[in-house]
């Protein structure tokens, strides 16, 4: 153990290095610059670092399910991504990612897939990819709107990031407004990314490897004039658990986004609300969160998110989490974000009666990116 003084010196060194590196487009970036490479054989390579440091009052006993952030310093994500058009028909993406979990760095191939580029209206994908469930799962750690995924989403799906190996088909429907239908079928069980399930491993689909997990997602977006868009989404994910029982999660989401035409660089507002309901391991659960993000200047964002788990449960068994975040993005390749979170958690101890724990978290995050990087969703 080192002293606080030593820690701060180390922190300073780390931060100096991080700031010195120029950089992945970040969650709060206005736009990205992807250097265009005319040579299609030359892959686009990008790499990024997400550094996190802070303190949480959660004690060991509160470690129930995947939620909350761990005290101390950690590398939330190190990503190396290679992406290229393979030929006139396919595009390939491979990403190697490292995530720290309980002090241990876990490195693996996060995504590796090929997708078609020559078929009109349809994209067919095969390999390992992020499951298109809910509003937040397609965002990589560095592109998340807050320092962690929404608490209800993580709790109800049982994973920090849902990943799967299989095939995916998305279809841009021939309608005057944007409507995308995405169907995915992946190997049994939805893999649990880098954060473990409550029982520590992937769950579902014990036996037959052909008992796949299915995900379907419908996303529509309407322009309400030149400045505002309304996005509505719905998704459903299902498979069989070890005992052959159906387990499923569904969610609906709504996002309003306001981007003034002439001042798009300086101010934007978006507001997202998502409801998720799950039926897993024979347990019914649901949750809701709402988030508002306000960009106040070219480089500044102020954000607020509140979530509740267990809407249909008794009031005192619900879990609440609120987060407020301030982001400064010096350029599209770097960001510094400060987040304070407050979480109440119900315990159903076998002996004592139910009581609430209050957890406070203060964390500072640095995100930098280097090289090219694929675009983020709108």
């Amino acid at each position: 153990m080192f002293s606080v003084h030593q820690l701060s010196v180390r922190a300073r060194i780390v931060l100096t290095i991080l700031i010195g590196i120029c950089s992945l487009p970040t969650a709060n970036a206005q736009t990205r610059t992807v250097q265009e490479r005319p040579n299609i054989w030359n892959p686009q390579i990008s790499t990024g670092i997400v550094f996190l440091g802070g303190y949480s009052t959660a004690d060991e006993h509160d470690h129930e399910g995947a939620h909350g952030l761990e005290s101390g310093f950690q590398l939330q994500e190190i990503e190396l991504r290679v992406e290229s058009n393979v030929d006139p028909f396919f595009r390939g993406i491979v990403s190697l990612a490292g995530h720290m979990h309980e002090g241990v760095m876990e490195v693996g191939f996060e995504e590796a897939f090929l997708s078609t580029i020559a078929i009109p209206d349809l994209t067919l994908r095969a390999g390992k990819f992020l499951l298109n469930f809910g509003k937040s799962n397609l965002r990589h750690t560095h592109a998340r709107h807050y320092l962690s995924a929404p608490m209800p989403t993580t709790a109800l799906t049982g994973a920090d990031h849902l990943l799967g190996i299989g095939v995916s088909l998305d279809y841009l429907m021939p309608l005057p407004f944007y409507t995308e239908l995405n169907l995915q079928a992946v190997r049994p069980g939805w893999e649990t990314g880098h954060s473990e399930d409550s029982d520590g491993h992937a769950h579902g689909g014990g036996g037959d490897p052909l008992d796949l997990t299915y995900v379907t997602h419908l996303k529509t977006l309407f322009d309400l004039g030149d400045t505002t868009t309304l996005e509505l989404g719905g998704s459903y994910m299902a498979n069989q658990d070890d005992h052959g029982h159906l387990q499923s999660v569904w969610g609906v989401d709504m996002t309003m986004k306001w981007v003034p035409l002439q001042r798009a660089r300086y101010e934007t507002i978006d507001w997202t609300t998502e409801y998720i309901s799950s039926h897993r391991h024979g347990v019914q659960g649901d949750g809701l969160y709402t988030s508002i993000r306000r960009q106040t200047a070219q480089q500044w964002w102020m954000q607020l998110r509140g979530g509740v788990l267990g809407l249909t449960r008794e009031t005192d068994t619900r879990r609440y989490r609120g987060e407020t975040l301030l982001a400064f993005a010096p350029s599209e390749r770097s960001a510094v974000r400060l987040q304070y979170a407050l979480e109440t958690q119900a315990h159903s101890d076998t002996t004592a009666d139910e009581h609430h724990d209050l957890v406070h978290e203060v964390f500072l995050q640095f995100i930098v990116s280097m090289g090219t990087h694929p675009a983020h969703a709108y």
Partner: protein, 306 residues
């Protein structure tokens, strides 16, 4: 469980189909200036629309999914290039699922590759800001470069719609002739102001300066895309005073405060300028837009002239 998957697949397949047969060539451009040129050359045989609105900053466009819908049936996508649209266009192209407009296909035309760019940095380092890493993309403010590009655009339209090739050629020639006369007129009008020092917010006007012999002393932005810090603004004040700059050019979509701050402390005048066709009502086509630009700049310089 398996039948869930097959039902979805079936649903997707029956919805797939309905491609519209368009008699007109469907052209989508990134800026309104390009849409205007395509419209003038293509006449009644093309339908041209721009992704960005005329008063929008073309560097900062949100890759809205509704724009992907606009691109999904496009026969041709015309862009400026030189990294102007790199922040948003690649994701729109991919999102449109339209193989015709992919880079390398005949339906993709990046005109920036056909002009002689200025401002190409000798060393590309992201610490220098990186919006203009391949040279300054604002060449559409130079009517001579635009005139030279007419043949590039025409050739592409001819390739995609050979039936109307002769007509495209004739229309382009007519426009080129019109531009000849206007370029002469603009050059004469601007001649008395040769050597005038100017400062702008962003390096939008560099080609314009070069064409008409004006001197761009600097920008209020630290680097392309990086907003000025207080320290940089105080340096900008010195720059304005030291070079006897009387007029600050301000693009309508940029934050007005830095320009106002510098103007107030130096006595320089701010002239607010559109940077695209349609940016103000009178700028109805490319020639009218250049007229607006030149007339506004001259009007602002007029009292400074003896």
């Amino acid at each position: 469980m398996k039948h869930i998957g097959s039902t979805f697949l079936f649903l997707a397949l029956i919805l797939w189909g309905s491609s519209t047969a368009n008699a007109k060539l469907n052209v989508v451009t990134t800026t309104n200036d390009l849409a205007d040129l395509v419209r003038q050359i293509g006449g009644p045989h093309v339908k041209a629309q721009s992704i960005t609105k005329p008063r929008q900053d073309p560097h900062y466009v949100k890759a809205k999914p509704s724009l992907m819908v606009k691109l999904r049936r496009a026969d041709l996508l015309v862009s400026i290039g030189l990294d102007l649209e790199t922040g948003w266009l690649p994701s729109l192209i991919r999102g449109s699922r339209n193989p015709k407009i992919r880079p390398g296909e005949p339906g993709y035309l990046k005109v920036g590759g056909f002009i002689k760019a200025i401002g190409i940095p000798t060393a590309v380092d992201h610490s220098h800001g990186h919006v203009h890493a391949h040279g300054n993309p604002h060449f559409w403010l130079d009517p001579v470069r635009i005139q030279k590009l007419l043949s590039t655009v025409t050739k592409r339209l001819m390739k995609l719609d050979p039936a109307h090739a002769a007509e495209f050629k004739a229309r382009a020639a007519a426009l080129s002739e019109k531009l000849d006369a206007k370029i002469q007129e603009w050059t004469q009008k601007m001649a008395p102001y040769k050597g005038t020092p100017l400062v702008s917010y962003h390096d939008t006007f560099n080609y314009f300066y070069d064409r008409f012999g004006l001197v761009g002393v600097g920008t209020l932005e630290i680097k392309p895309g990086v907003p000025p810090s207080p320290k940089h603004l105080s340096r900008a004040i010195q720059m304005v005073k030291g070079n006897d700059v009387k007029v600050l050019l301000h693009e309508i979509y940029h934050d007005e405060r830095p320009s106002k701050f510098v103007a107030k402390r130096t006595g320089a005048k701010i002239v607010f300028l559109p940077t695209s066709v349609g940016g103000v009502r009178e700028a109805s086509d490319y020639i009218a837009f250049m007229d607006v630009l030149i007339n506004n700049i001259i009007a602002s310089l007029e009292p400074a002239k003896e």
